[in-house]
């Protein structure tokens, strides 16, 4: 119910205050998120406007007063009004609307006695009523807000009080800047504060920001450096530092500042230290922070802007036509004025009916004409369809209500449906001409699945894994009927899983997939009685398909060579052969640690996992001990050389036991099938354990190897882990590493624990994380390697970037260098191959640093970190200094699976005439491949690859353009040519595009081609594009809520887009445009009755209608039907619209509302009003009828005409339509009868007393009404009939399908499509001939464009080298294109 209330409340607000909203108010400032290169000028300079915060304690009272005293406190007030200013402010707000001002103007005008047309009160009435209702609504709404504010303001939090020397309860509203606040777990943060203390020993604190941005994964925040080390809780009494930070701003992703200790030492503050108001503390027992921003200055509140307000194209159209109406009104009024002047000059002296002024003289015709002008404006005011605006708003609400109610948009997995965030551009959905789509997460699932990797130049193709992925879908779809026994199913499914890549059948590995499959099959497990155990393999973002990676056999073989001995510095014997092994080790360590994944245990949700032996101990010392101990134990255990898992532990049992299963895993005993099933069943015994899944895995793994795992099931280390990653590919890599027994165990800001099978648990001291950004396109971690004790940098990033950063000259000598070069070449080849298969590629590299180098770098980095200004740039530079001279380890290929229904949707959208562009940051090959996969490009499409090569064009062409070329293409001088070129292409793929480029492309197309654009994306990198386009659609996918927040509509899957556009867009557009046209018609038709009458009353401004009826005619009697029409009209059913996407083209061409349609509508309105006036005129001519009796049949006939006109225009009429139309007619008659009976002397001079009653007894009245209605509607009716018979539009023809039986329909659809193809061919032929004669950019014989089919390039391995050469050639010819491109045009 509250939802309904809010819905209503909100829409009232929109309805009333909409026009005054800031058009560009966006909830976020994404400039920093986008990180558009060096363009930091977008971010506001601080310019000395820093905020200084000192503790709000007695000791610093003076200083506090000086600095922080002026900052607002935490009381919030979101209400607009107070009791005192409600009336004036509300009126002020309301009169911001043009419509209300127009009303007001008319009211004022009517108070001028010389021009008054109606009674003063009557014109005032609608305005007053509207204002009052809106004021009441506003008041109620504000009161509601006030209550919420009050509730929030009175929430309790613990604030440090100096008096009582402890934290005491205080209301949120009393919190001020500088207060110390202590929060416990699951408490909401009352104000933005700097984290000073956390009970977490690592000094971190988890928060959930779902209240802020909707992301419910946990985010880490860190205690300010220097405080984290303190083991006791921070004492506010002793806190003497000063905090300096930037002024309040709304950028959630940025916070800069420093904390200055009393000794002038500065510690940098970043957003990692900031707890934002509205977030919830999770997984941390208690935290203490000092408030820096409070109340309305908090980032949450500053971000709390209203919804977006865009004007739709249709509305703009309507606005221009309203202006035409104004012109028409002026012309009509001028006619009236002139006419009155002329009339008056004839009868100037006639006092009989030309009444003199009270003082006896008559005014001159000229002046009277002038007055009459204004009188006429009042009289004909309805011509300006003020009610149109209100109706449009209401209709849009209705349309959006239906869009959101559409069950087809419901995504069960996410329990989400479409969200309409912008409420007034629904009809633009029906006119989209260009669609810009992101690839990742939009077209694809963004479920990153580890597919292949290449380590040290060897490609591991993970064939079994691929098989698993293929079968995954089936397994899921079948699992409802999956009633086989476990063992049966396992054996059944194991059979086809014979690995074919590389090695022959290998027992354990061959069985593994089935084992995993069984593990991933949810119902299977729960069927065994363990249903109460939460499925524990999942992290927030991961499904089994992502987490269960089947290792490659060859790679596993290599793993067997890993021994801890490799890392023993003394052991020189095994130096050469294991270089590859070392690479493998490093590679997987990099996969496991080079990320920002948060590890948590599923059975204790949101609780951070830590190694049991770490708990509670001071970290520093522990670290040392740990490292020491590890080295020790590794050496000890390595000597027995993996013979027995039961090696009696000596000395330190805990650590050793923890390593036991891992060691045992590495044994290569050959298992038997029976063992598998046996082991698989074993978890049944231990199913009460919360760690069932992982335990089982342990079991089977162990069991497969030697079958001697009994005692380890309860082992905490083995317990399952959840990885929560910021991006899914990070998680995919971590899961991949885990599949190779390189398990990320825990992560704290200080260290990372990796459980490496062959080496035991390794604890890396985490020195730095240089997070990923879109400029660098890479991320790095700096760790101290526990085995070698060196400082190692692991870098992971886009191949293009990493390849450039590799060390050119290796210091280790020629052979190594050579090897590295070979690896590099091979890897590059693999990368290209991956990309061609549509995989996302990442390169992994490392760099070993000497301590001195590191110290040097650290010093600089520290400077960068603590600076407030230019910090981003400095950090970037610092990162550059670190990430160079890298050694390539390998590359990964991650598959991003296409979303369900994407190809179909794209095909439909293509058919609908929407040009689709794919803008992606991925590599060209990947992008092209995905484009083919999702039918964006078709195999028989000819492809231009700009900057590289092209094929001579066929009928349909696709264009592929890379980021660098795009840069040129976007330059002023080339824009036109570029667009011309693209206009010939069916689809355009832009790869390697930066977020900024994406938005520029959209902007370019939108502004130069004057087309309706739609951008769809799911990630932060799409935000700018989404904002620039006419319609931005966010896919609420896996990359957080940023895109959704910036979007106008949010959908959960790409496939929903086709229904959204083809059905709802089409409907919304046709409905609204028809309704708008109808409104113009209605008003003109009705008002013109008054106008025609002026010719018979000396242009004196008499209305032959009772004023009340006049006012109510628009307000009541004819208002509801068009609204219902606008909401419920259905020209073609949804099914047909989906079947025939071609129908969408009518919206693109604005067929429902062309310029001439407006004028035709007006002409019809004029005709109808003429008929409606003159038929009764001729009938009542020279009779004894009086004014208002004459007006009555006019009104009644007009009502019938206007309503029946709607019926003619309607394509589908439901009982609701009928109800409303009949209700309108009844209400008219009821009103007329009741009013006519009650009103004896009221309402002079248009006293309606007994008029309707007289008429209803008079047969002539009915005859007149029927006759008038028939004559008036005849032309339109005949036109519609002829249109339906002789030249039906595609829409009309499609409408016939609705009546057919399914079989007939399929038949008819087939026919239709056949005809459509014929048409297409002919039109294309025409096009072609036109193109030949015209300026078609056909590089027929151009040397610049190498003629090469990219299709073959992508799919045929044989062509690979050829393709690449062409590619290289093309790259060098980028410039050539620039010159040649235009000449083509």
């Amino acid at each position: 119910m509250t939802e309904a209330l809010q819905w209503f409340r909100y829409h009232w607000q929109r309805l009333i205050g909409g026009a005054t909203r800031d058009d560009d108010s966006r909830p976020y400032n994404y400039s920093s998120l986008l990180a558009c290169g060096g363009k930091s000028s977008q971010t506001p300079k601080l310019a000395g406007k820093h905020r200084i915060v000192v503790p709000h304690l007695q000791a610093f009272k003076d200083e506090y007063e000086k600095f922080s005293g002026a900052y607002v406190n935490n009381r919030i007030r979101t209400t607009k009004y107070t009791l005192l200013n409600f009336v004036p402010r509300n009126l002020f707000e309301q009169f911001h609307r043009a419509a209300n001002l127009y009303f007001l103007f008319l009211v004022v005008l009517n108070w001028v006695p010389l021009v008054e047309a109606f009674q003063k009160e009557i014109t005032m009435l609608p305005l007053v009523v509207v204002l009052t209702i809106i004021a009441i609504k506003d008041g109620l709404e504000d009161y509601r807000k006030y209550k919420i504010d009050k509730q929030i303001n009175n929430l309790i939090t613990k604030v440090y009080s100096r008096k009582e020397k402890k934290y005491i309860d205080r209301c949120w509203k009393d919190v001020t800047v500088g207060d110390f606040i202590r929060l416990s777990c699951n408490e909401v943060i009352p104000a933005d504060m700097i984290l000073l203390f956390s009970t977490d020993p690592d000094g971190i604190c988890h928060i959930e920001t779902s209240g802020l941005d909707g992301e419910s994964n946990l985010k880490q925040r860190q205690v300010v450096r220097g405080y984290a080390e303190q083991d006791s809780e921070v004492d506010p009494e002793k806190f003497s530092s000063r905090i300096e930070c930037e002024s309040p701003n709304n950028d959630l992703s940025r916070f800069r500042g420093f904390l200055e200790h009393s000794n002038k030492e500065r510690v940098g503050l970043s957003k990692e230290n900031l707890l934002l108001r509205g977030c919830t503390i999770r997984n941390t027992e208690a935290v203490v922070g000092i408030v820096v921003y409070a109340g309305h200055e908090t980032k949450a509140m500053l971000n709390n802007s209203g919804p977006r307000y865009k004007r739709s194209q249709l509305e703009r159209r309507a606005n221009t036509d309203v202006l035409w109406c104004v012109l028409l009104l002026v012309i009509m009024c001028l006619t009236g004025a002139v006419g009155h002047g002329i009339w008056l000059s004839r009868y100037e002296k006639m006092h009989f009916f030309n009444i003199p002024e009270p003082d006896g003289h008559t005014i001159s015709p000229l002046l009277a004409g002038f007055y009459m002008f204004w009188t006429m404006i009042i009289l004909l005011q309805v011509l300006i369809p003020i009610s149109l605006y209100v109706s449009i708003e209401i209709v849009k609400l209705g349309q959006i209500y239906f869009i959101q109610s559409d069950v087809d948009f419901y995504n069960e997995k996410m329990d989400s449906t479409v969200q309409c965030r912008a409420l007034n551009i629904a009809e633009d959905l029906g006119q989209i001409q260009y669609l810009f789509s992101d690839k990742t997460g939009t077209l694809t699932e963004n479920k990153m699945v580890f597919r292949r990797c290449s380590v040290a130049g060897f490609d591991y193709c993970h064939e079994e894994n691929a098989k698993r992925l293929e079968s995954y879908q089936e397994a899921v779809s079948e699992d409802e009927d999956f009633t086989d026994t476990l063992s049966g199913s396992v054996s059944n499914m194991a059979k086809p899983r014979v690995p074919s890549c590389g090695t022959v059948h290998n027992g354990p590995l061959g069985n593994k997939p089935s084992n995993h499959l069984a593990g991933s099959s949810f119902n299977l497990r729960s069927g065994e009685g363990a249903s109460e155990v939460p499925h524990s393999r999942q992290a927030a973002f991961s499904s089994p398909i992502e987490t269960d990676v089947v290792p490659d056999t060859r790679l596993l073989d290599k793993f067997s060579q890993i021994t801890p001995r490799l890392f023993m510095p003394l052991d020189e014997t095994i130096q050469n052969p294991p270089l590859e092994t070392l690479y493998i080790v490093d590679f997987f360590i990099a996969l496991a640690i080079c990320n920002t994944v948060v590890v948590s245990a599923p059975n204790q949700p949101r609780q951070k996992i830590r190694h049991p032996s770490l708990g509670g101990m001071p970290i520093k010392s522990l670290e040392e001990i740990k490292n020491l101990f590890q080295r020790l134990s590794v050496r000890r255990s390595s000597s027995p050389s993996l013979t027995s898992g039961k090696e009696p532990s000596s000395g330190v049992p805990n650590a050793f036991v923890s390593r036991l299963p891992l060691f045992s895993r590495m044994k290569l005993a050959s298992p038997v099938e029976e063992e598998v099933s046996q082991m698989c069943e074993s978890p049944q015994c231990s199913s009460s354990s919360a760690c069932c899944t992982e335990t089982e895995k342990q079991h089977s793994d162990g069991g497969l190897l030697n079958g001697k795992v009994e005692s380890l099931s309860g082992q905490p280390l083995a317990c399952n882990l959840c990885y929560e990653a910021e991006s899914p590919d990070e998680a995919a890599l971590v899961y991949a590493a885990r599949a190779y027994q390189c398990t990320l165990q825990s992560r704290t800001p200080e260290q990372v624990m990796v459980d490496f099978a062959a080496l035991g648990p390794l604890t890396f001291q985490l020195l730095h994380i240089l997070p990923f950004d879109s400029v660098r396109k890479r991320m790095s971690v700096v760790v101290r390697h526990p085995l070698s004790n060196q400082v190692v940098v692991y870098t992971k990033g886009a191949d293009s970037v990493i390849m450039e950063l590799l060390s050119v000259a290796s210091p280790d000598g020629a052979s190594l260098e050579k090897q590295q070069m070979i690896i590099r070449e091979k890897t590059q080849k693999h990368l290209d191959d991956y990309a061609k298969h549509g995989l996302r590629t990442l390169c992994i590299a490392k760099k070993v640093m000497s301590d001195a180098e590191y110290a040097e770098w650290l010093r600089n980095h520290f400077l960068a970190e603590t600076s407030i200004d230019n910090r981003e740039e400095l950090l970037l530079e610092s990162a550059m200094r670190l990430e160079n001279k890298l050694t390539l380890l390998g590359a990964t290929g991650i598959e991003d699976r296409l979303q369900e229904g994407v190809p179909e949707s794209i095909e439909a959208l293509h058919k609908a005439g929407i040009k689709m562009w794919m803008l992606t940051g991925d590599k060209q090959e990947t992008a092209v491949n995905i484009a083919y996969a999702c039918k964006l490009l078709e195999p028989d499409d000819k492809l231009f690859i700009l900057s590289t090569q092209s094929k001579d064009s066929g009928l349909r062409a696709g264009l592929v353009i890379t980021g660098k070329t795009l840069e040129f293409a976007l330059q002023e001088s080339l824009q036109k040519q570029f667009l011309e070129l693209t206009s010939w292409c069916r689809a355009v793929v832009c790869c390697r595009a930066t977020p900024l480029q994406k938005s520029e492309v959209v902007k370019l197309v939108r502004s130069h081609l004057q087309v309706m654009t739609l951008a769809i994306g799911d990630g932060a990198n799409d935000v700018s594009m989404i904002q620039v386009a006419d319609i931005g659609i966010g896919v609420s996918g896996q990359e957080g809520m940023q895109a959704v927040m910036a979007s106008d509509f949010a959908i959960s899957q790409f496939k929903h887009l086709s229904k959204l556009l083809l059905v709802h867009g089409h409907w919304c557009y046709t409905r609204l445009s028809n309704m708008i046209l109808y409104f113009f018609y209605k008003n003109v038709a009705y008002v013109n009755l008054l106008f025609w009458y002026q010719f018979f009353c000396g242009f004196s401004g008499t209305s032959m209608t009772d004023y009340w009826v006049l006012i109510f005619f628009n307000l009541l009697f004819t208002s509801a039907p068009p609204v219902i029409y606008g909401v419920l009209e259905k020209d073609v059913s949804a099914e047909i619209l989906m079947e025939l996407p071609e129908l969408y083209k009518s919206g693109q061409k604005s067929e429902a509302y062309l310029a001439h349609t407006f004028w035709i509508t007006l002409l019809d309105a004029f005709y109808q009003s003429l008929v409606c006036f003159f038929v009764p005129y001729f009938i009542y001519q020279d009779s004894d009828i009086d004014i208002f009796t004459f007006g009555n049949p006019l009104n009644t006939a007009a009502l019938f005409i206007i309503l029946l006109h709607l019926v003619i225009e309607s394509k589908s009429l439901t009982w609701i339509h009928m109800l409303v139309i009949i209700g309108s007619i009844l209400s008219y008659f009821l009103f007329a009868i009741i009013f006519g009976a009650m009103c004896v002397t009221c309402n002079p001079p248009s006293n309606p007393y007994w008029i309707m009653q007289e008429h209803m007894l008079d047969p002539v009245f009915y005859l007149v009404c029927i006759l008038t209605t028939c004559i008036a509607l005849l032309p339109r009716f005949v036109y519609r009939v002829l249109q339906g018979s002789l030249f039906p539009s595609p829409i009309l023809r499609a409408k016939h399908f609705d009546r057919l039986t399914p079989e007939e329909r399929t038949e008819a659809l087939k026919k239709w499509r056949g005809a459509g193809k014929m048409n297409q061919v002919t039109s294309k032929n025409a096009n072609q001939s036109a193109g030949k004669s015209g300026r078609r950019p056909m590089p027929e014989s151009s040397a610049v464009f190498a003629m090469k089919s990219a299709t073959s390039c992508a799919f045929e391995q044989g062509n690979l080298s050829l393709c690449e050469t062409a590619l290289d050639q093309g790259c060098s010819e980028t410039k050539a294109f620039e010159m040649a491109g235009p000449s083509k045009g």
Binding site: E3, W7, N217, F353, V407, F409, S1183, I1185, S1212, C1270
Partner: protein, 460 residues
């Protein structure tokens, strides 16, 4: 049994990608437009045909199909019943209250609110009802020649007879008009144009060719008289005319400048009253005898009953003495006599004088007629006005030549449809014929285009 697969295999962290709806001041407007009326209205998939379900609609007009809305087994039950039923997915358990204060971490562990038997977990799934899914049964008129043919023929068949009927009726009405403005020098009333002659009486002779049967209405007609001028129309006080004593002495401002005369309120005030038609018309039959026979003209019954009895009332008080009741007022400037001397009949005097009432009903058009007298039929045997020579005696008071107006006297019989009006009948016949013609044209079109490519095979 409907089995619902757990939508998302993880019960622990359902991807909370859509933010909770309510935090109004923190999350920038996640307004959900969903009106959740009743959460149990979630029909199962069986019940509601999918969008591609066959639908026949062959000129089916109104199909009131009530979809049964069973309380269906929702996802929750489905899960429970599932033999492999996984833990119920946590749906909609995301914190909803403002600021998620009542967040309960345990919810997440336990897998959300327990599924009460019969109840369903709240999801955002829209109700699958015909209304919400815009699948209401509808009449979908397709306007083609074939479908509308009958309409045109029916209109033609109905309108033409009606038109003929009206036309005949109208033609049977007897009507005679006598213009007595007197602007032509030959006119007997020409002498009255000069203002000097007061009172001026003129006589006009005329002949009825045919006798007038039934009741005959006598009208006076004025032309070019803009009784519908806005300010003229306004210039009256209905309260005064309704007998309101305060309004009598203090007429409405609308009456200006005919509100007061010499400090006395005018009764009736205003320009309409002031310009009241004040010619007197008398009709005489010149029989075979030398004595002309006056025709009895009935003064009463010419106004609307409601006007005479409800809307217009004399001021209260003073028994039968009207003059007393109108005490303190003065006559309109142009009037010769005060309002209480309009007629000798007490029932037809003062404001309820029917001539006055008729006049006060302002005419819609500048050329109009107003009912002046009734000539009642005396017996069935004799015509009301036999054919013969008549003369009209006019006391000429009302000046119309200022504004090029004309004055007429009209005698007319009436039918059920009022006075003579050929237009209505002709219009009906014309529209009926046109419609019939169109019907024929459409028949041809329909015949010609029936088998042509674009519509034919899919029409109906």
């Amino acid at each position: 049994m409907i089995r619902v697969r757990p939508p998302f295999p993880s019960p622990i962290y359902p991807p909370p990608l859509v933010p909770p709806s309510s935090p109004s001041f923190l999350s920038p407007s996640h307004w959900r437009l969903q009106l959740t009326f009743a959460s149990y209205q979630r029909p199962s998939a069986e019940e509601c045909p999918t969008s591609s379900a066959p639908r026949r609609r062959r000129l089916r007009w109104w199909r009131w199909r009530r979809r049964r809305r069973r309380r269906s087994s929702g996802s929750c039950q489905g899960q429970q019943a599932d033999p492999f039923g996984g833990p119920p997915a946590r749906r909609g358990a995301a914190p909803r209250g403002p600021m998620a204060m009542n967040y309960n971490a345990k919810d997440e562990v336990d897998g959300g609110p327990p599924c009460a038997p019969g109840g369903t977990a709240k999801t955002r799934r829209p109700d699958n009802t015909a209304f919400k899914q815009q699948r209401l049964p509808a009449w979908q008129p397709i306007l083609t020649a074939g479908t509308v043919l009958p309409i045109f023929f029916i209109i033609g068949l109905i309108f033409i007879p009606i038109g003929i009927g009206i036309f005949v009726t109208s033609n049977n009405i007897r009507e005679i008009e006598i213009d007595y403005t007197g602007t032509e020098p030959s006119s007997p009333c020409n002498k009255c144009l000069s203002p000097d002659v007061t009172p001026c009486i003129c006589t006009i002779n005329f002949t009825l060719e045919k006798s007038f049967e039934g009741n005959v209405f006598m009208y006076y007609g004025l032309s070019n008289f803009y009784q519908n001028h806005r300010r003229y129309v306004k210039s009256r006080d209905d309260s005064q005319l309704n007998g309101d004593s305060s309004a009598l002495l203090n007429p409405s401002k609308e009456c200006e400048p005919y509100r007061r005369n010499e400090d006395k309120p005018i009764a009736p005030c205003g320009a309409i009253a002031n310009s009241m038609f004040n010619d007197t018309l008398e009709l005489f039959l010149i029989g075979n005898d030398s004595y002309p026979m006056p025709i009895a003209l009935k003064k009463k019954g010419i106004a609307w009953w409601t006007d005479k009895n409800v809307k217009f009332r004399n001021p209260p008080g003073g028994d039968n003495n009207l003059e007393e009741r109108f005490k303190g007022t003065t006559k309109p400037v142009n009037w010769l006599k005060p309002v209480y001397m309009l007629d000798s009949d007490q029932d037809n005097n003062g404001f309820i004088n029917e001539d006055f009432i008729v006049w006060m009903r302002t005419a819609a058009l500048p050329t109009f007629r107003k009912l002046y007298r009734l000539i009642e039929r005396k017996s069935d045997l004799h015509p009301t006005l036999p054919a013969g020579r008549y003369y009209l005696n006019i006391t000429y008071n009302y000046p119309v030549h200022y504004f090029d107006g004309r004055k007429r006297m009209i005698l007319s019989t009436i039918s059920w449809m009022g006075g003579k009006n050929p237009f209505l009948g002709i219009a009906y016949i014309a529209v009926g014929s046109i419609s019939f013609l169109l019907g024929v044209v459409l028949l041809v079109i329909n015949h010609k285009y029936r088998n042509s490519s674009n519509t034919a095979d899919i029409t109906i």
